[in-house]
């Protein structure tokens, strides 16, 4: 039975006060949160160790400049406790990275919230996000899909992870109160001494069912438009043909953790005769080569763990709907194994475990 900590304040302020409490009481040595960094409204993640910097933070801001899961995994192992406020898909990415031995959860107090989605990065750069924020929070209160958010957020159904240390309930809640669900013993220990009403109550996921249904419906619509699996190579060329090979999708992907991607390695530096043979056989050769191959390769390497954060689509200079394709493909493959990326740290990644009976045929 998890505990509910209710604070009589607007969630943004309550979270800030909670983080201040953790820092002041030296329960943590640092706080990790989104923050507004300058007059241009730029937002980044900050690790704050001095409480005087806490007024810069905007922990619940609907923007994702980088997937925090990627940052946090590279922050481990850490010997002193850190509290981090991150979005559900960032939390799930962190879990996947832990399973892939790219980090540990030790010494982290992970705080997530039921997330309405984030705006595309450009909406922040051109400042239009400011006009949309009040509508965004209204939609959140009413458990609706806010307009202008990332396409991947519209179709996300894993927007309230109940297994994070702390889950702040935002969707469908009045803004005057902040409901923090303390899901782990760790969370209870950290929250000890913080002012607020404690009750025994579990986060009721069914409250979010209607929103989930809306999102699932949109997901089916989006997925039905991606027919790459039926149209084969031609379909892939239609989707990825305008790729310029910058590999930006890979660079921002939290799951793609390789320091040097195989597709950037010497393996793909072909000797001239190989290229000449292809040129002679086909009469033409696209340069640089392997445009589609890269995406298929990446799909097969990481789509199993794809958390649908949408960073890939947001940074694509050629506006390819990378996230939708990867989400669909990842879900179909993971679905065979009833696997949901980032659901549970104990759940093993199916392609990474071997069962003896799987080799039975070979053995016989």
């Amino acid at each position: 039975m998890s505990k509910l900590l209710t604070i009589n304040n607007n969630p943004e302020i309550a979270v800030k006060e909670f983080l201040m409490f953790l820092l002041e009481k030296e329960k943590v040595s640092g706080v990790f949160s989104l923050r507004k960094v300058n007059k241009n409204g730029a937002v980044d993640y900050g690790l704050i160790t001095d409480k005087s910097h806490l007024d810069e933070i905007v922990p619940l801001h609907p923007l994702m400049p980088i997937n925090a899961g990627q940052v946090l995994s590279r922050f481990t192992p850490i010997e002193k406790p850190i509290a981090a406020v991150i979005k559900p898909c960032e939390f799930r990415a962190f879990i996947e990275l832990v399973k892939r031995e790219q980090g540990t959860l030790d010494n982290f107090l992970l705080i997530t919230y039921s997330c309405s989605g984030v705006f595309p990065l450009k909406e922040n750069v051109n400042g239009s996000i400011n006009d949309q924020l009040s509508a965004y929070w209204k939609a959140t209160e009413k458990a609706e899909i806010p307009s202008e958010i990332r396409p991947t957020c519209r179709i996300c159904e894993h927007f309230a992870p109940v297994n994070s240390d702390i889950l702040i309930s935002l969707i469908g809640e009045e803004t005057g109160k902040c409901k923090m669900y303390l899901n782990t013993e760790k969370a209870e220990k950290f929250a000890e001494g913080f002012e607020g009403k404690i009750s025994s109550e579990e986060f009721i996921t069914s409250k979010l069912d209607s929103l989930k249904e809306k999102r699932l419906k949109e997901k089916e619509e989006v997925f039905s438009k991606i027919n790459t699996e039926e149209s084969g190579l031609d379909g892939l060329i239609d989707v990825f043909g305008r790729c310029i090979g910058c590999h930006g999708c890979r660079n921002v992907c939290p799951i793609c953790y390789c320091t040097l991607c195989d597709f950037e390695s010497a393996n793909f530096d072909y000797n001239v005769p190989i290229l000449e043979r292809e040129l002679e056989e086909k009469g033409a050769l696209r340069l640089p080569p392997d445009t589609i191959f890269f995406h298929i390769g990446r799909l097969s390497h990481m789509s199993f763990s794809c958390v649908g954060c949408g960073q890939c689509s947001d940074v694509c200079p050629a506006n390819i709907p990378v996230a939708s394709v990867f989400r669909k493909s990842g879900e179909r493959v993971a679905g065979i194994f009833d696997y949901v990326p980032g659901r549970d740290v104990e759940e093993e990644i199916p392609v990474m475990i071997y069962k003896e009976e799987e080799f039975q045929e070979l053995g016989e």
Binding site: S29, G30, N38, N40, A42, D44, Y45, G46, L47, I48, T49, D50, H53, E56, P65, I66, V71, T76, P77, I78, E79, K80, L121, K122, N124, V125, N126, I237, D238, G241, R242, I244, G245, C246, G248, N251, T259, L260, E264, S265, A266, Y270, V272, P273, L275, E276, G283, A284, L285, R286, L287, P288, P289, T291, D314, V315, C316, P317, A318, N319
Partner: protein
């Protein structure tokens, strides 16, 4: 024989493309070249890709002057010749900034030019890639109009194209000059001269009317350039302004990935050296009270600048690829103009100009130089 436009008739975009394609057709038919690299529209018709063709029938599908530059041609050519020369003679048609990038990459040993003939043309500029992708049909028309009207100052073009004063003859072997009513072909190297004479094409390298026209445009562009540089200087002056300029950067390194000069397989800033352990991060945070993530974004840009600005050709791909609209290209172009001036170097102008950082002169070594010289003098006395 290339058909030459009749004087008095306005040169249209259609005619420019047709005549350039005819040139390549003749060269392929005469077996003077085996393969041609040029832009071709992708099947979804919303962008272009670099295609190397050997089958002459595919030539008619190529667009020699594409409205956009999704990939710098030097990067495409690099992937074919990085491991040395092959058995085919290849002709490549590029924009002048791509020629310059090719020359830089040749010096950096990433391209082998022995069996490559470089061709260029007077470039009006390119449209921003994302504008084109959003509406290919209209942008195709828009660009045709710019080309036909010879509009060298269109606001629809990439900002970096509007400040480019090296849009004409560069270090290519053969160049197509665009006059108001005809297209002229001129050679710019022995290789080019030989090709033109073998094709029996009149070499118009002394065309004064064309040279005058180009000079006039150059002067206009140089003015735009100075204006932009002034703005960039104000925008980036001092640490705080520099930090503000790059504040939206998310550290995706797209600018580096698409940069033709950044040829490192693994950038220093992506290597494990740039991923310090968590205790180091915590110490850094504690020193300042807060630490920003992704780490060292400004450091990345300054580092990249110091690594590549001497070879920057101002192609503008960095700006095209930036997901948060930082005017990377104009900033780097400004920096490059300053650093290149310092070393009296012009990126991509000639394969013969040594890269300043790779060229050691004895007198540069100062004191050590003097010591070496006196030692040498001592040696010659002993002889």
């Amino acid at each position: 024989m290339t058909e030459v436009s009749k004087k008095g008739v306005k040169l249209t975009s259609e005619k420019v493309r047709k005549e350039i394609l005819q040139f390549f057709k003749n060269a392929m038919e005469s077996k003077l070249i085996d393969a041609v690299m040029m832009p071709m529209q992708v099947p979804s018709k919303d962008s272009y890709a670099w295609i190397l063709i050997k089958d002459i029938n595919l030539l008619e599908d190529m667009n020699p002057i594409a409205p956009i530059m999704p990939i710098n041609a030097a990067n495409a050519l690099k992937r074919y010749t990085r491991k040395g020369k092959g058995k085919f003679k290849i002709a490549v048609l590029m924009r002048p900034c791509e020629i310059r990038a090719t020359i830089e990459l040749t010096k950096l040993k990433q391209i082998e030019l022995e069996d490559v003939i470089l061709l260029s043309y007077d470039c009006v500029g390119a449209l921003p890639m994302q504008d084109y992708i959003a509406d290919p049909e209209n942008n195709e028309k828009k660009f045709d109009k710019i080309l036909t009207e010879n509009n060298w100052n269109s606001e629809d073009l990439k900002p970096v194209c509007n400040i480019c004063d090296k849009f004409s003859l560069s270090a290519s072997d053969v160049h197509f000059g665009l006059k108001d009513n005809e297209i002229i072909i001129l050679s710019n190297s022995e290789k080019g001269e030989k090709l033109l004479s073998e094709l029996k094409i009149e070499d118009k390298k002394d065309d004064k009317i064309w040279a005058e026209k180009i000079n006039k445009i150059k002067i206009e562009k140089a003015k735009n350039r100075q204006k932009s540089f002034k703005e960039i200087k104000t925008m980036t002056d001092g640490f705080t302004n520099l930090q503000d300029t790059f504040a939206h950067c998310i550290g995706c390194h797209n600018c580096q990935s698409v940069c033709p000069i950044c040829y490192c397989r693994q950038c220093y800033f992506d290597s494990s050296v740039s991923k310090p352990n968590s205790d180091v991060k915590l110490i850094r945070a504690e020193n300042k009270g807060a630490l920003a993530f992704p780490l060292d974004r400004l450091m990345f840009h300054i580092g990249r600048m110091s690594h590549m600005s001497l070879s920057c050709v101002s192609c503008g791909l960095c700006s095209d690829a930036c997901p948060v609209d930082i005017p990377v290209a104009n900033i780097f172009s400004y920096m490059a103009s300053e650093t290149q001036k310092t070393f009296e170097y012009s990126a991509g102008e000639s394969v013969g100009d040594a890269l300043p950082m790779r060229d050691y002169k004895l007198d540069e070594l100062g004191e050590l130089g003097k010591l070496v010289k006196s030692a040498e003098a001592g040696e010659s006395e002993n002889e």
